[in-house]
Every structure is written in C-alpha cells, then in structure tokens.
C-alpha cells in the first residue's frame, strides 16, 4: 500500500472571527495549505470538511467552502465526530489516498461558534451527550461532564485544583508564543484558581474558549509526496475508537476508554510505543482532559498525570513536550477545526519549523490525540519524518 504524507498545511487565526464568514474563514487555511504544498488547487481530488455546525447558518457547509475556494467537481463530504471531527476529516482524506482512490486530498477543519450567543453555544455542546437522559432533565454542559471526570480523578489520585491550574498556565505559556492563538498572554496559577467557577471544580481558566477558526492539511500519495516536498510528514497510523454517548454507561470516570483503545490501535499499527513519541498534541478541552490524556496515552501511569506535569516533563526539555502551540486551552477550540490544527502543529514540529516553541526531535515521531465529546470518540494519529 502507498504511504500517505502531509505535504501542505494551512491555519487561520483562531478567536472571535466575526470579521469573516465561514467560507472566508475556511479559505484562509485552504489558501495557506495550497501555497504550502506548492500545488495547483485543481490537483485536489477530494475535500473532506470536518465540522460540527449548528452555531453557524450553513446546514451543508462543505459545498459552501468548496464553492468559495473554487474547488469544483471534487469528491467531497462533511464529517462529524464531535470535537474529533478534524481528525475524522484527516482519516477520511487519508483513506482516500491509502486506498488508491485519490492521489491528492485535502482535509479542512472548520468551526464558527460565535455566530450564536455564548449560552446557546454552551447549550449546543451540552446537547451532545445522550439527549433524553442527560440534557432534557438535567441540563448537562460540556464543562459539567469533564467536571465529573475531574472530581473522580481528584478523589482517586489526589489530583488538585492547583494541578489543573498548572495545565492552564502551561497552555498560556506556549500560547504566548503562537501568533495564531486566541490567547497570547501568560497567566498565573493564582489567576486561574481565582477565575469564575463554571462547573465545580472547573473554572473559567480550566476551559478552552468558544472559538472560530479553520485549519487545512493536504495529503498526497507516496510518489507524489516525494515529488512535492523534501519534508513530507508521513501518517504512520490512525487509531480510532469510541464509547457510549451516555456518561452513565462508562466503565470509569478517571480516564477515557476510547482514548486508551485508540492509542493502543495507533501504536500497534505504527509499531511504536509511547516512549518513542518526541512531541504530542493532546485534547485539552478542559485542563483535566490533558492530565487524563497523559495517562491514557501511556506517557505516564494512570493517576500520575499531575506529577508528570509538575515535574515539567511535558514542557520543552521534558520527556514528552505536549501542546506547544498553546493547546485548545490557549490556542482556542473551534471544535471541528481542532483536530486538523493539531496535525498542522505536529507537522510544523516535525519539519523543525516551530520557531521558539520547537521541541527537540529525536525519533522523528509526533502524535495527535483528539477526543470527541466526553470521550464519545477518540482518534490518535501517529505522524513521522520517516515513512
């Protein structure tokens, strides 16, 4: 089977982007990815758009995006896997090339969450569980689901609110070095701890923001990739897994079963272990999610996420630097765009183009961990300098 590589990356500024329509917003990264790949857009055979929607006016968004960018007669679809929609889009594009169906394909992650008011966005996310058993009577929000993970984790392993705040401080530290991030200012533990409680024990600074943004990657088959670039970033494997929609059916509240399973699949298919990973982007929609990700991915043992962070092991210079673009927390979390944005960041890291937030690259391997919903979905993608 042909190898599949990322040959072009594009990324919009994340934030409140009421200066652009959804098509204009998508164009920013599509244009960037086409230029970066050095191709003619007519060479793109498939366009997969990852987006959740509901908070913007277009009900059939992929064709609106394609029309604006002049992508005509392409094979196309939108994919949705909640907040893992971006990774699902990359997987779809990847499969189209790996199967031999296409030679060049593009995945676009896109979300525009600020066209409705904040509490309506909160409601749309809250309705992402099992509607009748979680929302209709009990008004769950995304923060409350993750707060339940936090309470269980704190109770079982002694993780503290300070530990959660440290995740936010790290995110804002690296976000301050990312000109495309929604927040580019350092924060302190005190500031995080004193912010408004959203769903106890999670506070405003434990939560990724409501964001608009887009990101795009162009994938190519092995021969084409080698012709187009000296620095193809190979997709070594994509592990995908899922879990119940309903929180009450989960086995555990101190980790995500789908993440454990997806990473096992991804490591196995790439024939690597977690110790081989030089740099990772993990899904920190809430601070607790990043700590659970360390554990679910095997960067440390279960329950030791907070210690790994406190020891500085997930900073540059540590064992496994994580979220050097600021993560969803500081960079922003336009949900459909986030997975693709993570691919863009890890591609930059593996190319050695991350500037002052560059991680040391030893094995040439990076990882993207993208969770959908409250662990409904997880996609783990292994990227590599070597085929």
């Amino acid at each position: 089977m042909t190898g599949v590589a990322i040959v072009g990356i594009g990324h919009s500024k994340f934030g409140r982007r009421n200066d652009v329509s959804i098509a204009e917003l998508a164009f920013e990264s599509i244009h960037g990815a086409v230029e970066d790949a050095g191709i003619d857009k007519k060479q793109i055979q498939n366009v997969t758009v990852g987006s959740v929607g509901g908070w913007y006016e277009e009900n059939v968004p992929a064709t609106v995006v394609n029309e604006y960018a002049g992508l005509e007669r392409v094979g196309s679809m939108r994919v949705e896997a909640a907040c893992a929609s971006g990774s699902a889009a990359v997987k779809n594009a990847y499969l189209s090339i790996a199967s031999g169906e296409a030679d060049i394909a593009m995945a676009v992650g896109l979300e525009k969450m600020t066209e409705v008011d904040t509490l309506t966005a909160v409601e749309l996310m809250g309705r992402g569980g099992s509607y009748l058993w979680e929302f209709e009577n009990f008004g769950m929000t995304f923060a409350s689901y993750y707060a339940m993970f936090a309470v269980a984790h704190m109770n079982r392993f002694g993780t503290t609110e300070e530990d959660l705040a440290r995740v936010a401080v790290k995110a804002h530290h690296y976000g301050s070095m990312n000109p495309l991030a929604q927040f580019q200012k350092e924060i302190t533990i005190e500031k995080a701890l004193s912010s408004q409680v959203v769903s106890w024990p999670l506070k405003l600074y434990d939560a990724s923001p409501i964001s608009d943004g887009s990101a795009a990657v162009i994938l190519a088959s092995e021969d084409t990739a080698r012709k187009l670039t000296d620095t193809p970033i190979w997709i070594r494997s994509i592990g995908a897994s899922s879990d119940s929609a309903d929180m009450s059916r989960r086995d555990s509240y101190v980790g995500l079963g789908a993440a454990v399973d997806a990473s096992r699949k991804a490591y196995s298919a790439a024939k690597i272990g977690p110790e081989m990973v030089d740099v990772a982007n993990v899904h920190d929609c809430f601070t607790i999610a990043e700590l659970m990700a360390y554990e679910d991915l095997g960067f440390c043992a279960k329950g030791e996420g907070a210690k790994l962070l406190r020891d500085g092991q997930t900073m540059i210079g540590g064992k496994i630097p994580v979220n050097l673009d600021g993560g969803l927390k500081a960079k922003g979390h336009p949900v459909g765009a986030s997975g693709v944005s993570m691919m863009v960041e890890i591609s930059k890291q593996l190319r050695g183009e991350a500037g002052k937030r560059q991680a040391p690259i030893k094995n040439g391997i990076g990882l993207v961990h993208n969770v959908g919903g409250t662990g409904h979905y997880c996609y783990v993608t292994v990227l590599s300098r070597k085929r």
Binding site: L119, T141, V151, S199, W200
Partner: protein, 144 residues
C-alpha cells in the same frame, strides 16, 4: 481601536423543539409515577441495561422484560453546574451526580437537598421520583 466588524443579524430564527418517541421505554416513566425504578433485562442473555432499551445491546435480542433496579445508590462522581445553558437559565445552579445502583447500573441525576460541599464520592444516596408542576416525571438523588 478597531471598530466591530459588520455582521447581519439574520431576520429569521430557527426554533427547534422535538417530539421524542418514548413508547418503548414508557414503562420506566410510568414506574416513576408510582415511585418505582424499573429497567430492561434481556430475556435471552440476562443483560440489564440502564437507560432501559427494548433491544439488547449485548446479544441483540428484542425480547426484554422489566425488572426493578432498586434505588440505593453509591456516589461515583458529581459536579455543581454554575454556568447553565440557555434552556436552563431560569433554573438555579444545580448539582448533578452519577451513582451506581445495587445491580451495577449507573444513573445520572440532579441531587436534591444537598450542597456541593456535602457531597463526597462513595457516600450513600437514594433515587427518588419527582413530578413537575406541569406533570412530567423525573428523578433525583437524595440523602439515604
């Protein structure tokens, strides 16, 4: 200082309110009215499911019976929801808990009569049925 970009506030509002079919699980809601908590058990493989479902998620059999699932819960985790969605802005902030029942089923519901500070993982709570003023049944956890 930049001026705010121009947006068009759409003249048209989309109002969505759903009719959710519940006839296959109505026994659960009917049970609540009598203060009982029942759920489905597969006649073929014995799997007990909550939320109740007419088809077995384990063996796919469509033959289910209704069994009592008890009301004694052990608190697994909880949260206190301060920022509530649009639909719940008129509610006071609420505490949501997940408890494990004797048969192993887990249930998510609001707690009643307990502050967030009083809740501890592992404590004993009890499911109780409630009826809203307009007649719709729901359920809460209270101190056992």
């Amino acid at each position: 200082m930049e001026s705010e970009p121009l947006t068009l506030h759409s003249r048209k509002s989309l109002n969505l309110r759903y009719n959710v079919p519940i006839s296959k699980t109505s026994r659960f809601w009917d049970g609540l009215k009598e203060g009982k908590f029942v759920t489905t058990k597969c006649k073929s493989c014995g799997e007990v499911s909550f939320p109740p479902q007419a088809d077995c998620p384990k063996c796919m059999s469509g033959e289910a019976e209704w069994v009592d699932m008890g009301t004694d819960g052990e608190l697994l985790t909880f949260t206190y929801v301060q920022v509530t969605p649009t639909s719940f802005v008129e509610s006071d902030p609420y505490t949501v808990a997940v408890c494990r029942l004797p048969g192993g089923q887990k249930v998510l519901a609001w707690t009643e009569g307990l502050t967030r500070e009083q809740l501890k993982v592992g404590m004993k709570l009890r499911l109780e049925a409630r009826t809203r003023s307009e007649g719709s049944p729901y359920y809460v956890f209270v101190l056992r």
